[in-house]
């Protein structure tokens, strides 16, 4: 009783208690600081500062004084860099490209993940642990490595898959202008389906068994249980994985960047992130910062927009 009372009192009037007993409040504040510092220090150093720096840089422009090579300095430029970004046709075509990528890849990946999660959750499947691990395995492979691996499978010079397909009279060009976007999508799907499946599967695990028993008593079959009970209950996880996927799509970099090594059909401005990188490597850091900020804003609007759109329906 007394314990709860003091806690309530402290929560209600923390300032007062601290003011009254600085000695007594000190260690507690110290504890809070001690526990929070390990989080806040890196958070400020490696998150807030770089983000702030990028925003700051995006409002600056390079000027130069004198001569053939001159001396450069940066100065305040207002929204000049943003104007450049919005006028840049490469930027818009990269946005369009990953828009198309996301509209196709995200639903396909999440649908497959959902089916796999539902299958794992049925008593039909006996060796669950094995399937759970093997489906999750690609996620343990770093994206760059996965892309390198797939690039060997796509490459007509080296791939046993292409050889095999040619053997039966097919001549696929995985790296051609029309196909390469989907080859990159395939790598992403391979990498992330297991991860999304695991999130959905965890949600399925937390559904109490009584619900299924009740449903069965009401005469529901396995299909009905899956689509009318399980899926609506785990809808919040599906929304969550969709938001993750939207963010991931807008940040797409590693897969196309690696495939670019072997396919000239991936330009240096294929995705918005690749464009930002190309601009930065041309020493136009301010412009690259503005591109990054715009990508971040679009990501923010799309992911929160999706959450708001679905929150009512998903019962969040």
């Amino acid at each position: 009783m007394t314990d709860t009372e003091t806690r309530v009192a402290r929560v209600a009037a923390p300032r007062e208690s601290r003011r009254r007993r600085p000695g007594g409040g000190g260690p507690r504040a110290g504890t809070i600081v001690a526990f929070l510092t390990p989080f806040f220090l890196p958070f400020v150093l490696f998150y807030l500062v770089p983000v702030g720096y990028a925003i700051w840089q995006s409002f600056r422009v390079v000027r130069r004084s004198g001569g053939q090579y001159g001396t450069s300095y940066t100065t305040w430029g207002g929204f000049e860099q943003y104007g450049q970004v919005f006028q840049n046709s490469e930027f818009w075509s990269s946005i369009e490209r990953i828009g198309l990528f996301g509209i196709v890849q995200v639903p396909v990946m999440l649908f497959v993940a959902l089916i796999m999660a539902l299958l794992l959750d049925t008593p039909l499947l006996k060796i669950k642990a094995f399937f759970r691990i093997s489906a999750f395995m690609p996620y343990a492979v770093p994206g760059v490595i996965a892309a390198i691996m797939w690039s060997y499978l796509y490459s007509p010079q080296l791939s046993p898959v292409v050889d095999l397909l040619q053997g039966i009279g097919l001549h696929p060009d995985f790296l051609g202008p029309g196909a390469v976007l989907w080859s990159a999508a395939n790598v992403s799907t391979w990498l992330w389906t297991g991860y999304n499946m695991l999130i959905m599967y965890s949600a399925l695990q937390s559904i109490p068994q009584e619900i299924y028993e009740a449903a069965k008593l009401d005469g529901a079959g396995n299909w009905a249980i899956a689509w009318q009970i399980k899926v609506p209950i785990i809808a919040p996880s599906i929304v969550l994985t969709t938001v993750f996927s939207i963010i991931g799509t807008l940040q797409l970099y590693a897969e196309p960047a690696v495939l670019r090594q072997i396919s000239s059909n991936i330009s240096s401005t294929f995705t918005p992130n690749m464009l930002a990188y190309a601009v930065a490597s041309g020493n136009n850091y301010q412009q690259a910062a503005a591109i990054s900020v715009v990508i971040a804003l679009i990501t923010f609007v799309l992911s929160f927009g999706f959450m708001r759109l679905t929150s009512k329906r998903a019962g969040l």
Binding site: L48, G52, I55, F59, R260, N265, T269, G282, N283
Partner: protein, 444 residues
Amino acid sequence: MRNTASRVRLAAAAAAASILVLAGCSSSDHSGSSSAASCEPAKGKVTLQYWNTVPGMDKVVDVWNKQNPDIQVQIKNISNDQYGTISNALKAGKAPDLAQVGYDELPNLRTQNAFVDASACSAATAAKSKFVPWTWSQTSFGGTGVFAFPQDTGPMALYVRSDLFKQHGLTVPTTWDEYAADAQKLHTADPKLTMTFFDPNNAEWFNGLLWQNSAEMYSYSGDKWHVSIESDQSKQVADYWQKLIDDKLVRTDLANGSTQMYAAYQKNQIASYVGAAWGYSMFRDNLPSQAGKWSIVPMPTWGSSAASGDWGGSTVAFMKGSKNLYESVKFNTWLNTDPQALALENKLGGLYSAATAGTQLPALSQGVPYYNNEKIFDVFAESSKNIDTSFSWGPTQKTVNLSLQDAMAKAAAGDGTLSDALSTAQATALKSMKDLAIPAEAGK
């Protein structure tokens, strides 16, 4: 102005604190001057930092370190993202004393104030006589400053699969017209065999071809850069390769130096290679089973007079902030002119020296076993002499190259032409310079 600033700060409340913090240090924008470098020998032992990308360079440096206990050199390989590493180090104020920089990147880094002018050291200006003239003028930007020492060059030549040429009764081409005719004959005889490949992702290579045809892409006069990437000379080269691509006489699906490229050569699918001097060790090391089948001949020419281009090669630059300029000059001179160092670099790293002494190395006057004991370096030496010495690179070359590559890839895929790619590159050059406040205009 201030109003917009505060509005942004309000909107980004979380980031506001860091913006204010950073606003304080924004005056650290690099505004270095490259003047008044002093050239005093250090008192006591010195350790130099040297960043490079050449295989085997650690062994060369070992030789130096043994002979010079007072000037020790620490080496770091930056092959992975060479210029990103250098740029980041510059921004952080932690650049090494010396770094390897390609000729085409020199103007770019110069506009970032990356170098220190070593002409304060008499030994640096005296080194001029030791290098092939055009390489020196690229590192001194045609002026009196000394910002880097040339290390190696990539005089171009044609690598020929003699056995395949013989098998199909082809003569070794001396002009580009003959080369195209040979390519047509080869394709007619065996559609699976192509003359060479056009790598759309390799602007450096394409620039070498333009260089051969005296395409002066940049010049500086009247306080302005003049961009003429779309010149008649470069269009001639573009149209030529466009026709080879259209007629399917060259492949466009291979990247230079890729596993795929070696696989295609390994499978005898390609009969020649338009390459540079440093490529000799690539073929030797990656296709050992084709020893004796390759010959190296002069690159085909556009007219009757000999002309060649350069592809790649690089310099060892004096980086801004070096506190040991005297010692850096000393080491850099040894590294790039000493016969022992040059011989090792050629053997281990495949470097074709930019120093005139390099062409007189005993190893370079002998036949090379892989190439049927032919004296291939004689071909490169001749090529080197025929390189247009007035060619210069632009200050935003990397951006221009990326844009050129993207457009070349489109052309190779049937969307536009290589000539269009030149127009794209021209526009990119002008815009990228404008973005970095470098005064530029089109034409001469």
